[in-house]
Every structure is written in structure tokens, then in C-alpha cells.
């Protein structure tokens, strides 16, 4: 190794360390408070699911009725967990990819508190009965400008970093993440202005609302997770993306197809009737960007099966990408007008699909990213591989079962709803056993995320292992699988300011 290369490597390491250090506080804040919101959301999800099969449960409590807990559950999942995990991961990844230290950590942290306040007030507003009743936009209407402003305050620095980056190739992750950062305000402003500021025809408002839901899934959460996976998998496995042209095809097909999706939820409503069919077509076509991205990511990851099974990051990311493939197949299967669309339009299937997308795909990739990022910015290693394993297995089995049960239970419920000459209660009876199962499974997912939240909090408090060896999921070992413990912070004056 020539001295020039080794000097380059050292400069590289110093730069990475300074980027990580500059982002430590905002990233840890987003990830930890996101994990806390995830736990809150799951508890609310259990309560609302219990109400589907046992309406008497907590019936003396007005603010815990189904209409409020279900809305609070899904909004806490999206804006509390999903967005904050995305913020933490995006600002770190784009700093690393643009090779720029973050110079606005304090402002991002402050804006993050404002965002959290917005979510907190919004959830309280829903529980107190001030929800708007628009799916995924239930927060009282004064919340959205606050959230939008804090979004800009959090995200604009990554755009600045991109602008002043060193010349060169723009990696596929940057394409995905930058696109998501720009698409979200477009979708969010359009929907909120058209629904809250200049409300028009109420039927079309329902259509805009359905488009908003779909766009949030396909134009924010999907590109964020894909951009993250395209970074994590080559980084951990040490191999280049299997087929870069396939990855680019995935990005551009996502950008061209997905803005059309969403209105299939209004099939049969008195809106121009090509719109629902166009929405169904676009949602079915989600298969193409999903499959192309998934193939290039998975082929890269499984090139070395040992790393794939030992690295927590790779395991979670691969599980998330498998979730994406299942989601893509479900998107084809659930959106065929005249066959399955009617059955999924008003039943649990829609919920199953959303949980599959938000948890089975997006959250798993975020978990993978968190297991990758947190040791680097706290300079501590994860304490316990058992906690990671429990988190992985309970979450994987839990979300697979919920998606399976809700999607197929929802189809059964849909068949009951379609039999319009039968009493409505028969449709509910068909859904009953599935709803009981969903409540039961949420309990295990909650358990897994309590492990995760505890583990993350311990890391935030810098109580992780002091070691130069990452925590890997290996079990056949004598002594510690991670080598001898050493104190990486005693490495001299250069890193002393990491405290």
C-alpha cells in the first residue's frame, strides 16, 4: 500500500468521522423519537384492532373509540415514525454521499422538535375529536403548515450539500432520496391546499385524498427506502450494484408511473371514470419499478450469503426488499377492476396493503439503516445481538402474518359486503376471526419494538459496547464473537472532541 493511498484512506476516515459527528444529535433525535412514536402507534393499533372484534372493549372512554384510535394509529405510524426515520436516514446519507459535514445541526434539531410538536398536537387533536376525517390527513388543519415549515428547515440543508458536493457521478441513492425530498412537498402542498384552503367538490376531495395516500406511499416512502437500500447493500457486502442499468430503469419507471396512482379507491364514485381505471393501471404497474429495484438489490446482497446472514443491516434490508416484492405482487393482485378491486375497496385488505408497505417494506429498510448508522455516529456498538435477533424475528413473522391475514381476511369481508341483499352484519362476521388474529399479532410486533426502542435508547445514552468490532448475528462461537473489547475513544486527541 503506497503512502499516498494510505494518506487518502486516512483523510477519508477523518472526513467520515467528522460528518458522523456533525450529525450525531439530530440523527439520534429523529431515530429515537421515531422509535418511540412507533411504539405509541402500535399500542393504538392494538386498541383499534380490538375494537373491530370486541366493540365493548374500553367503551366507556370517548377518546378511545375506533374512529379516533385507528386514525391516531396510522398517523403516528406515518408522521411520528415513518417521516422521522426518513429524516434521520436522509440527512445522514446525503451528507455522506455529498461528502459534506452538516453545518446546521442545531437548526435541524430545533426543526425536529417542532415537527414532533406538530405530530403530538395532531395526535391529541385526533383523540380529542378534532380530526378531519380524511384518511392519512386526520391531523387538525392547523398542523400542516407547521409540519411543512419544519420539513423545509430539516431538508433544505441536504439540498445545499448536494449543490456544493465535489464534482462527479450522482449515485442512484442520491437520485431516489433527492426525488423523494422534492416529491413530498409537491404532494403535501397540493393535497392540503386543495382540501383545506380552497375546498372544491367534495367527491373530488375524496379522490385527492386517495391520491395523497397513494403518493405518500409510492413517491415518498418507496424512494426513501429504495435509496437507502441501494446505499446499504453495496456498503455492507462490498460489492457493486448487480446491474446499475436495472436500478436506473427502476428509478425512472417509478418517477413516470406512480404519480398516476391512487384514485382506484373511488371506482364507482361520480368522478370522471377514466381516473379510477388509470389509478388501478398505475398501481398494477408499480410491479415494474419494484421488481427491477428488488432484483438488483437482492442479487447484490445474496452474492455473499455469510455476510447477508450475519449483518443485522443486511438482514433487515433484505427482508424489507422481500416485503417490497410481496407488496408489488399484492398491488397487481388487489387492483383488478371487476374482480378484486371491489373486494379490497372498503375492506381490511387496504389496511393490510398499507401495513405491508409501511412496515413490511419501508420500516424494515429503516431498521437496517438504523443498525448501520447508529454505531457510526455514537461510536459505540450495539449491545446485544439477541435483542437484534428478537426484533428481527418477531417483526418479520408479525408483519408477514398481519399482511397475509388482513389482505385475505379483507377479501372475505369484501365478498360479504358485495352480497348486498344480505345484512351488513354478515360482512362483519366474516371479518371477525381475522380481526382477532390481527390484534394478537400486533402484540408481538409491539414486543419486538419495545426491545428495539430500549436498545436504541441505550445507544443514544452512549451506553453501547466500546469496541472496534461490529455486532454481528453469529451464534457458534467460543467467547465473544466480536474480538477483544477496546476503547475506541481513547484513540487520542484527534477523536477526543467526539464526546
Amino acid at each position: 500500500m503506497s503512502s499516498e493511498v494510505s494518506q487518502n484512506l486516512e483523510q477519508d476516515a477523518v472526513l467520515r468521522a467528522s460528518i458522523d459527528r456533525s450529525l450525531r444529535h439530530p440523527v439520534m433525535f429523529f431515530l429515537t423519537s421515531g422509535a418511540a412514536w412507533l411504539a405509541v402507534s402500535i399500542i393504538l393499533g392494538m386498541i383499534s384492532s380490538a375494537k373491530v372484534h370486541s366493540p365493548d372493549f374500553l367503551d366507556s372512554c370517548g377518546w378511545l373509540t375506533y374512529g379516533r384510535t385507528q386514525a391516531a394509529h396510522i398517523n403516528a405510524l406515518i408522521y411520528g415514525w415513518g417521516f422521522q426515520a426518513a429524516f434521520g436516514v436522509i440527512i445522514w446519507l446525503l451528507s455522506r454521499l455529498s461528502r459534506q459535514e452538516c453545518r446546521a445541526a442545531g437548526l435541524i434539531l430545533a426543526a425536529g422538535h417542532v415537527w414532533n410538536l406538530g405530530v403530538f398536537v395532531g395526535i391529541l387533536g385526533i383523540l380529542a375529536g378534532f380530526g378531519t376525517g380524511m384518511p392519512w390527513m386526520e391531523f387538525p388543519s392547523f398542523c400542516w403548515p407547521v409540519m411543512l415549515l419544519s420539513y423545509f428547515a430539516i431538508m433544505v440543508w441536504s439540498l445545499v450539500q448536494f449543490k456544493v458536493r465535489p464534482e462527479g457521478h450522482v449515485y442512484i441513492s442520491q437520485w431516489y432520496l433527492m426525488a423523494a425530498m422534492i416529491w413530498f412537498p409537491w404532494v403535501f402542498i397540493t393535497a392540503n391546499v386543495l382540501l383545506h384552503v380552497i375546498p372544491g367538490n367534495p367527491v373530488m376531495a375524496a379522490g385527492i385524498n386517495a391520491w395523497y395516500k397513494s403518493s405518500l406511499l409510492f413517491l415518498f416512502f418507496t424512494p426513501v427506502a429504495l435509496g437507502t437500500a441501494f446505499y446499504l447493500v453495496p456498503k455492507v457486502s462490498g460489492r457493486p450494484i448487480h446491474s446499475y442499468s436495472l436500478a436506473q430503469l427502476g428509478f425512472w419507471s417509478l418517477a413516470v408511473i406512480m404519480p398516476w396512482a391512487g384514485m382506484q379507491k373511488l371506482t364507482g364514485a361520480p368522478i370522471p371514470y377514466f381516473l379510477p381505471y388509470l389509478g388501478a393501471t398505475a398501481t398494477i404497474l408499480f410491479f415494474i419499478p419494484a421488481l427491477t429495484a428488488a432484483v438488483s438489490i437482492l442479487r447484490t446482497a445474496i452474492a455473499d450469503p455469510e455476510i447477508a446472514s450475519h449483518s443485522p443491516t443486511l438482514r433487515f434490508t433484505m427482508a424489507g426488499i422481500v416485503g417490497l416484492v410481496v407488496m408489488a405482487v399484492a398491488a397487481v393482485f388487489l387492483n383488478i377492476p371487476g374482480k378484486t378491486l371491489e373486494l379490497s375497496q372498503f375492506s381490511m385488505s387496504g389496511y393490510g396493503f398499507e401495513i405491508l408497505a409501511l412496515y413490511g417494506f419501508f420500516s424494515f429498510v429503516m431498521f437496517g439503516a438504523i443498525y448501520f448508522i447508529v454505531p457510526r455516529i455514537t461510536r459505540r456498538e450495539w449491545l446485544s445481538r439477541r435483542l437484534i435477533k428478537w426484533h428481527f424475528f418477531l417483526s418479520t413473522y408479525g408483519v408477514s402474518l398481519i399482511a397475509l391475514v388482513a389482505i385475505f381476511g379483507g377479501l372475505q369481508q369484501g365478498i360479504g359486503q358485495e352480497a348486498f341483499d344480505q345484512p351488513w352484519s354478515e360482512a362483519s362476521q366474516r371479518a371477525f376471526p381475522y380481526a382477532v388474529l390481527i390484534t394478537f399479532i400486533w402484540f408481538f410486533i409491539m414486543l419486538s419494538n419495545i426491545f428495539f426502542f430500549m436498545h436504541l435508547t441505550v445507544m443514544w445514552l452512549r451506553l453501547g459496547r466500546r469496541s472496534t468490532h461490529p455486532t454481528l448475528l453469529v451464534s457458534d462461537h467460543h467467547g465473544s464473537p466480536h474480538g477483544e473489547d477496546g476503547d475506541i475513544d481513547n484513540a487520542g486527541s484527534m477523536t477526543a472532541s467526539a464526546h
Binding site: L9, E10, D12, A13, R16, A17, P234, K235, V236, S237, G238, R239, P240, I241, H242, S243, Y244, S245, L246, L249, P270, P272, Y273, F274, Y277, L278, A280, T281, A282, I284, L285, F287, I288, L291, T292, V295, R299, T300, V332, N335, I336, P337, G338, R376, F420, D421, T468, H469, P470, G483, E484, G486, D487, I488, N490, A491, G492, S493, M494, T495
Partner: protein, 256 residues
Amino acid sequence: MSSPNSHSKPDLDETINVTEAHGRVTSESAACEREKRLADSGRESVPLWVITACGVVLLIAGGVLGNAGTLLSYDSTFRKDYVRGLAPGGAETGPEAKIALVAFSAKGSKIYSAKCNGCHGSDGKGDGVNYPSLAGSSFVIEENQKFAMIILNGIQGPISNGKTYGAGIMPAQGAGMTPEDLAGVMTYVRNSFGNSTGDVVSVEMAKNAIDLSASREKAGQSVTADEIRSAHSTKLPGEEMLPDTMVNPANLTLVK
């Protein structure tokens, strides 16, 4: 990588803390080791099965879009034949059936508003000077033929309580009244304003009342209290209808 001080200490000045310096080298090389450097992008071609799978999905999506009618046509808001046909074995059953007393009274209250309200008032109490009260009037609540004759022909002179109100005449209301209208308004008045005979004047009875009224000796003139008492103190002929029979509220026919 073993303990920092075990072997190969760098040969350095004494002013440098060797342990610290070596520790730094160790941690940095560990950090470098964890950061993989990738110079190139994968150049594998797109696998055939991916192209095939995407092609199949494109066909399905094309089929869906083919059913979408005229694209970007904002005028057609309903798909042709969208409204669902009848379920197999299902037949048009009309509006939901109601019990006769409710259905007849509902129909009668509309007729009352149109024809009677002006004089007898919305509470049926009249004004006590020009227009008598319908509440508790024996001509209203006794045998239903009496009430039918007054509605169809009007009445002149004193009424059931012997008093004469205003000009002493109520004009005939029978013009244009169908048997259903008459049955409805009679049922309504006999069960409202404090009256509660609890029975229904059937459509058949009302039809017979119209026939009877036309075949009176003094057809075309108002009845008098004496004529009511002498000639019409009987129940109207025709089949009775029990008040809790289920009927179609639109045309007051029986629902089987």
C-alpha cells in the same frame, strides 16, 4: 487485531504517546475496514425472467386501461352499464312496507294540509266561531259513513253539537278526491288532534263512500245534521283493514 501494545510498536519520538498513537491507527483502520469503497457500477444485463414478468404485468395493466373508456374525458362520470342489475332471484319490491295506520295517516296528513288546514287549522281545533273543532266531534269519530258524507258533500246548518258556525255552511271537498285520498284523510283525522279511534278506513270503504254519496237523493247538495243522523248512521260497507296490516306507503295496497 490483538492488543494495541503486544507487537510492532512504531519507532517514534518519545514525545509521542505510543499507546495513544497506535490506538488511533487501530481504530482508524477498523473504521476504514467497515467502510467499503466501491469504484465501479455493476454491468450485468437485465435478466430475461425480469423482462418477461414485467411484460406480463404490462399486459394486465393494459387490459385494465383498455376498460377505462375515453382517456381524459372529464364529461363521462359514469361507466355505461355501471349500475348493477338485480341479484339473481331478487325482484323489485318497491318501497319499504309500513303498517297501515302509519301509511294511511301519512297520506292523509298531506290531503289535510291541502284541503282542511285553511279552516280547521293545523291543530284541528278550528277557531270556535266560524269553524268548528274536529277534536272529539261525534260526526268525526262515530260511524265512519257520517264523516265521509260531510267531507264529500259539505254540511249546512247546525252540526253535531247543535251549534251553527259562521255562515252555517262547509263546502263540499269531494271534487278530485280519489278513494285513497279519502281513506287517508279520514284515517288521519280520526286518529289525530286527540281523536283515537285506532281504526283504518280502507280504500274499499272509501270507494263505496264515493258511490254512496253520488247516489244520494239530494246528490250535489250539502248534507244536514238531520240527514246524517237518519240516513248515514251506519258503518261504510266494504272489507275492513286491520290497523297493523303491512301496506305499500306509495299506493296503500297490501304487501304480501
